[in-house]
């Protein structure tokens, strides 16, 4: 019993974090058909904001809000620096600029902060544990589950019930037509980047809550996770991304419990091999997104 509960909590907390990561990537991909390679760096930005405000004596919650705000600001900044100037030119150009922008942010952190891990202030609650039906559970896992439920519900509400959310979904399926109805293209794209940055910020805080430190390369793993989850779930479907996140967490956790140490080292090779196979089978991912679409 205790084992089952532990397993379920592991899958749900990891899956929640993965789902949020994937969602942040798909929101951009859905609208622009472009992969944002600098997505992982938004998580890094949130982490370093926590580190830099660490000595300020502000209450932790204020630092967390600042970290979120910075991730949002850098999300919008990504749009202006890497996407907007080349959006109309070519797909390859945008992929390259976002790749370059990712390198830029990482190396800026190397240069201006440090290549070494930096401790991030975390409230007590992140290191406490509770016992649920005999399973010792870190509270941060429960926090992750709670945060992901709240956020997934909030994003679902935004996308289904508000005019802006519906406009974003419309833009994702047919950008030109949405513009012909008066939906302002640039505003919608910036909003998508802001939302993507917000999700990255939350993921950043939760993710760093597990590790306790931040390094310039911290964004790579979440980016890879988001890639896999979106590919599993369907590259243009928001619910698909969430499902993909949980599915990947389930696979990862199962592998963690079952694989021997020797094979566990190859886990990334297995999961990425799986990604390649899925993309071969269904180039749009497992769950089909909106039927058509073009970029501006």
């Amino acid at each position: 019993m205790a084992f089952t509960i532990q397993f379920v909590i592991d899958v749900l907390s990891l899956g929640g974090a993965y789902a949020l990561m994937a969602l942040g990537l798909v929101i951009i991909y859905g609208i622009l058909r472009l992969v944002n390679f600098a997505y992982g760096e938004l998580i890094m930005v949130a982490g370093y904001t926590l580190y830099l405000t660490g000595g300020s004596g502000l209450p932790w919650i204020v630092m967390a809000v600042l970290a979120l705000a910075m991730a949002v600001v850098f999300g919008i900044f990504t749009d202006y620096a890497a996407f907007r100037p080349v959006r109309a030119k070519s797909v390859t150009a945008v992929l390259i600029t976002s790749f370059a922008f990712s390198n830029l942010l990482q190396n800026a952190a190397l240069l201006f902060i440090s290549p070494r891990p930096r401790y991030v202030p975390l409230p007590e609650i992140f290191s406490q544990t509770v016992v649920i039906a005999g399973a010792i559970t870190p509270v941060r896992n429960l926090l992750t589950i709670a945060a992901s439920i709240v956020l997934l519900a909030a994003v679902a509400f935004l996308m289904r019930k508000t005019t802006l959310g519906i406009a974003m979904r419309a833009a994702a399926s047919n950008f030109t037509m949405a513009r012909m109805l008066g939906v302002p293209a640039n505003l919608i794209i910036s909003l998508a980047f802001a939302l993507s940055g917000f999700l990255a910020g939350v993921v950043g805080i939760l993710w760093i809550g597990r590790i306790g430190t931040v390094v310039p390369g911290i964004g790579l793993e979440p980016l890879l996770v988001a890639f896999i989850a979106t590919v599993i779930g369907g590259m243009r479907s928001l619910p698909g991304a969430v499902i993909g996140g949980f599915l990947l967490a389930f696979i990862d956790t199962t592998l963690n419990y079952t694989l021997s140490q020797d094979l566990l080292k190859f886990r990334d090779a297995f999961t990425f091999g799986l990604v390649i196979l899925i993309l071969l089978w269904r180039p749009d991912g497992l769950i089909k997104g909106p039927a058509s679409g073009q970029r501006t």
Binding site: V35, T97, F101, N103, N107, P115, I276
Partner: protein, 342 residues
């Protein structure tokens, strides 16, 4: 003279001038930089054969370079050193010791064989799916290199490769790579592939089997990457899998797109420019580090400047410095214009 021959002549002249020039100056540092430049040329020109003709971005190239380097290492590390360098090596490989030249060809062939075996189905994909799979492929190759301790010594540094790559060797291989890229570009496969880049439907209507064409280009690119990796391995003599990951990918992609991915001229010019810029920035960095008064190390400045340069090029000239015409075509046109004027 045909423009394509003119292109070959000009590019080869550039390589020879750089090689001979840096050798004549007689400064060891320049010799080292020039050798590095030649090795980069092999890699970047190799990437160009795939990216330039197919129009698809590939992030996996450096992974194939790693395959070449490790193949060459396993084949050339002297058998008495293998016990230390590769303690877990399979017994049948411990006695193997071939000449570095042979190992270089083997490195290229292994990379090409791996590419041929896994890449065919990937070539059906376009756009984001193609990019993500190539990225995934890089991660897979990296993970395998990082963990297949028997062959690679795992994440630890592998040492003991004989140092056989010098400037003349590297320059000769670079010359061959440039010729291979130019010949491939003008071959039937290369021409059809470039037609497919402009219009997939029309090329398919002409009877072009696009995945098969891309596959050939990908294998050639992997072969050149493997050769480049072997060349580099015998230059640096010790390395770890970290050398074949994102940072290096970023560097060669920068070289190619700044110069212009569609042309071999662009690949050569981009490699030369970025190498000069890179070495210059590195020099500045270490100078700053030497003079700074305990203010901490300056790292990452080089990459920041390169990233900014790359974004600037993409905004101002998305096709790079040589976006569509090879240097030979440009010179031939200039001459024709001059003749009509006089």
């Amino acid at each position: 003279m045909k423009p394509s021959h003119l292109t070959a002549l000009v590019l080869l002249a550039v390589i020879v001038i750089i090689g001979v020039g840096s050798h004549l100056i007689g400064i060891r540092l320049y010799d080292r930089i020039a050798t590095n430049l030649m090795i980069s040329l092999v890699l970047v020109v190799g990437l160009q054969t795939f990216m330039g003709n197919s129009g698809l971005l590939s992030f996996a190239h450096i992974g194939f370079m790693g395959l070449g380097a490790y193949t060459s290492a396993v084949l050339t590390i002297p058998s008495q050193m293998k016990g230390m360098a590769l303690p877990d090596l399979y017994p049948f490989l411990t006695a193997v010791e071939v000449s570095p030249l042979l190992a270089m060809v083997a490195g290229g062939l292994v990379a090409a064989a791996v590419a041929a075996a896994i890449a065919y189905p990937l070539m059906r994909l376009s756009d984001a799916a193609a990019v993500i799979t190539s990225f995934a492929l890089l991660v897979v190759l990296y993970t395998v290199m990082n963990n297949w301790s028997a062959l690679t010594n795992g994440p630890r540094t592998l040492f003991g490769l004989p140092r056989t790559t010098d400037l003349p060797t590297a320059a000769s291989v670079a010359v061959l790579a440039v010729i291979a890229a130019l010949v491939f570009k003008e071959s039937r496969t290369g021409k059809l592939l470039r037609a497919s880049r402009e219009d997939e439907v029309a090329a398919a209507a002409l009877g072009a089997n696009i995945p098969a064409l891309r596959w050939r280009a990908f294998i050639l690119a992997a072969f050149l990457a493997g050769v480049g990796g072997s060349l580099w391995g015998h230059f640096i003599t010790s390395f770890s899998p970290k050398a074949f990951y994102l940072k290096e990918t970023f560097l060669i992609v920068t070289m190619l797109v700044v110069g212009g991915a569609n042309t071999v001229t662009g690949a050569v010019v981009g490699t030369v420019l970025i190498t000069v810029a890179y070495e210059g920035l590195r020099g500045t960095e270490s100078m700053l580090n030497a003079t700074s008064f305990g203010a901490g190390q300056v790292i990452g400045l080089t990459e920041i400047v390169l990233a900014l340069a790359m974004i600037a090029v993409m905004i101002l000239k998305p096709g790079g410095i040589f976006p569509s015409r090879e240097i030979g075509d440009i010179l031939a046109r200039l001459r024709a214009r001059k003749e009509t004027r006089s």
